[in-house]
């Protein structure tokens, strides 16, 4: 039995409505707002699980189902559509799995440090979820801006000199990125006359010679905007500062923001410039591969150089996103689905680990000595204010015993995941990437790109390990104070570590799901077919003929009106590929 199709729009509606309701209460009602926020996050988690079951196909393996939701019920290439496929369902799940612990952690005190934290948090989730679901470029811009506007507010949450300084740079950079985004979108519309991603993908192979450089320029402008968000070197200079300055729960959800940029790169790169894109196939793939590797190297050096855990984690975000971008570049050149599987799995696991590290930084850093003494010496060089501590929120709730042991074990788990060591999930992802890269490099001689990637991947894990272990020894072993750890802070950390554990234990179904995702990404006929063949709901909307001759995608599967008949209230179509 499939859930009703309206469920697709819920990941956008739930945070929108929850955030809007919160705005009506004033700041004295924080507990109510927090409760509402947690309820909304739990609902989103439930919806994300339902969606992932839907996208994965319930009965047999290997079905890739693209579900479409026509907002406004215009026929498919003309109106704005929401598209759910395996990749977007995966990203939605990642969002809700990270958001819930981050919000609970904020409930331990941080949400009291400024105004409208809970509402901004929900609007951020709305923007992220919308970016994952939309099938239209301009709609993507709108959701991007919703997400960014909320992230500006969240980054500044708690105020203070360092945050405002970092926020100033962050906003300026993102405003410039928005301009690039708009230029790219406008150029694409001017060249092809469509903004629907699937429609665009069918038109790119048939572009005239005069139009092709234009679409390449547009794609370059667009990816400039997304790569700033995904923090590819040399567009990543803003990230460690901004993420290091953010409040810990904000840092944890911000680890998702780079993934939004990376998601769009994966989606558009493989959809528009995949192997079937004719002369445009593989456009920009070398840049992605090289830039991703440069990001890995830069992030690894940054991790070694950083002195506090927030900054280290900021640099680890760079490594994680660089790995993903490099693999996407290589996968675009060589049409390499297995490597993409490893990268997506690693991305999922490492994002959880990074979010947990952001949350861990504060309770561990609450110890008196240890790293604090070291920090005071070096803080000035890095532009950090040692006296910044006074804005820490008052803690509430009972402290739990054995805090050091719990923090230490969680820290260890995060290190293992992020550095990619056995036995946790990060290792499986890295192993998948390494084995398929080495296999590919053996089978085709002269693949120096794969070898470079293998070397960098191992080295970056090594650097991560050195830096985090050094920090861990200084602040956890060489320091016998028992830091106060309220339940509200311990619980979210345990939730994130537990999710990593679950991902490791359930690696087989997870990897199988992600493997199909990677396959579906490299064969984009399913996505295009799913989007282009959607019947509208109301009879009169069926009347207008498509204005342009639509070349039907070669392997377009027949639309399967499962569930209700199309004339009923189900604006939804399914395309299935056995």
């Amino acid at each position: 039995m499939t859930p009703p199709p309206h469920i697709i729009v819920l990941p956008i509606l739930i945070p929108l409505i929850a955030g809007a309701i919160m705005l009506m209460y004033d700041e004295r009602q924080r507990r109510l707002k927090l409760g509402l926020g947690i309820l909304a996050c739990v609902l989103q988690l439930g919806v994300a699980i339902a969606l992932i079951l839907r996208a994965g196909g319930s009965s047999e393996l290997g079905r890739n189902i693209v579900t479409l939701y026509l907002l406004g019920d215009w026929p498919s290439p003309f109106g704005i559509v929401l598209v759910l496929d395996r990749l977007s369902a995966l990203m939605l799940l990642l969002t809700s799995v990270v958001a819930l612990p981050a919000l609970i952690y904020a409930g331990a005190g941080w949400h009291r440090n400024g105004q409208h934290f809970n509402a901004l948090f929900q609007f951020l989730l709305m923007g992220i979820n919308g970016s994952f679901l939309t099938g239209d470029l301009f709609n993507l811009f709108v959701f991007f801006e919703v997400m960014l506007a909320a992230s500006y507010g969240l980054l500044l949450h708690g105020s203070g000199r360092v945050r405002v300084g970092a926020g100033l740079h962050y906003i300026a950079v993102n405003l410039l990125a928005a301009m690039l985004f708009l230029l790219g979108v406008a150029l694409i519309y001017g060249t092809t006359g469509t903004l629907n991603m699937a429609d665009l993908a069918t038109r790119i192979p048939h572009l005239s010679e005069a139009d092709r450089p234009m679409i390449h320029a547009a794609a370059a402008l667009l990816s400039g905007a997304f790569l700033i968000k995904a923090a590819m070197w040399p567009l990543c200079f803003w990230l460690p500062n901004a993420y290091g300055a953010a409040a810990p729960p904000v840092g944890a959800v911000f680890s998702l923001l780079t993934k939004v940029g990376a998601y769009v790169i994966i989606r558009l790169g493989l959809l528009l410039f995949g192997p079937v894109a004719g002369e445009s196939a593989g456009f920009g793939a070398q840049v992605l591969a090289l830039g991703g590797m440069a990001t890995m190297a830069y992030g690894s050096l940054g991790v070694l150089a950083a002195q506090d855990l927030g900054r280290m984690t900021g640099n680890l975000v760079l490594v994680s996103s660089g790995t993903l971008l490099a693999v996407v570049g290589l996968a675009m050149i060589y049409d390499d689905a297995p490597m993409l599987t490893g990268a997506l799995y690693y991305m999922f696991a490492s994002t959880l680990g990074l979010a947990a590290l952001f949350l861990l930084a504060e309770p561990i850093g609450r110890k008196e000595e240890g790293i604090a003494g070291l920090l005071a010496v070096t803080a000035e060089i890095y532009g950090l204010d040692p006296e910044e501590e006074e804005d820490e929120p008052r803690q509430e709730g009972t402290a739990i015993p054995g805090a050091t042991a719990l923090l230490g074990m969680s820290f260890l788990a995060c290190v293992l995941v992020v550095a990619g060591l056995p036995p946790l999930a990060g290792f499986l992802g890295k192993f998948g990437m390494l084995s398929s890269a080495v296999q590919r490099a053996w089978s085709l001689p002269g693949m120096w790109g794969h070898w470079a990637f293998v070397v960098l991947l191992i080295l970056s894990g090594f650097c991560t390990l050195i830096a985090l272990m050094r920090w861990g020894i200084q602040s956890l072993w060489a320091n016998s104070d028992e830091p106060p750890l309220p339940v509200m802070e311990a619980l979210p950390i345990l939730m994130l570590v537990g999710t990593v554990g679950l991902l490791t234990v359930q690696a087989e179904p997870a990897l199988r799901y992600i493997d199909r995702t990677a396959e579906a990404l490299t064969e984009n006929a399913v996505y295009i077919g799913g989007v282009m063949t959607a019947p509208p709901v109301s009879p009169e909307a069926l009347a207008p003929e498509p204005l342009t001759p639509e070349p039907p995608p070669a392997a377009a599967p027949a639309p399967d009106a499962s569930g209700a008949d199309p004339a009923a209230d189900s604006p939804q179509a399914q395309a299935e590929l056995p």
Binding site: L148, A172, L175, L182, A186, L187, Y189, G190
Partner: protein
């Protein structure tokens, strides 16, 4: 002639905007970002092709010759872009004021460069 004027206008706006956005004072940066967004908005508008005296809204029913009408989509897009750009710029202005209050300087790095 119309094309030339428009493209020159966009070029001047974007060039001044980029130059100003690179300047060290926050006020220069925000004016630069505003000019850039004007240039970008004009560009979006121009992507519907330049026509004079053509309405973007078509009458209902009957045969409609699309050549006699302007493309409504870029006009809708540019409206959205203007609203979003305006809102984010206003937010940026607030942050600039806050940074000025915290640091006592309008330098983008929060401190004057030593001479």
């Amino acid at each position: 002639m119309m094309e030339l004027t428009l493209s020159l206008g966009m070029g001047v706006l974007v060039a001044s905007g980029v130059w100003l956005a690179m300047r060290p004072r926050t006020f220069q940066v925000i004016v630069g970002l505003c000019l850039l967004s004007y240039g970008v908005n004009l560009f979006i508008f121009a992507m519907g092709r330049l026509v004079t005296g053509a309405a973007p809204i078509m009458p209902k029913g009957g045969f409609v010759n699309p050549d006699a009408y302007a493309d409504p989509v870029p006009q809708a897009l540019v409206l959205t872009a203007i609203v979003i750009g305006f809102a984010t710029t206003a937010l940026f202005l607030v942050v600039i004021m806050a940074a000025r209050g915290f640091t006592g300087t309008d330098h983008v790095d929060g401190k004057e460069r030593e001479q």
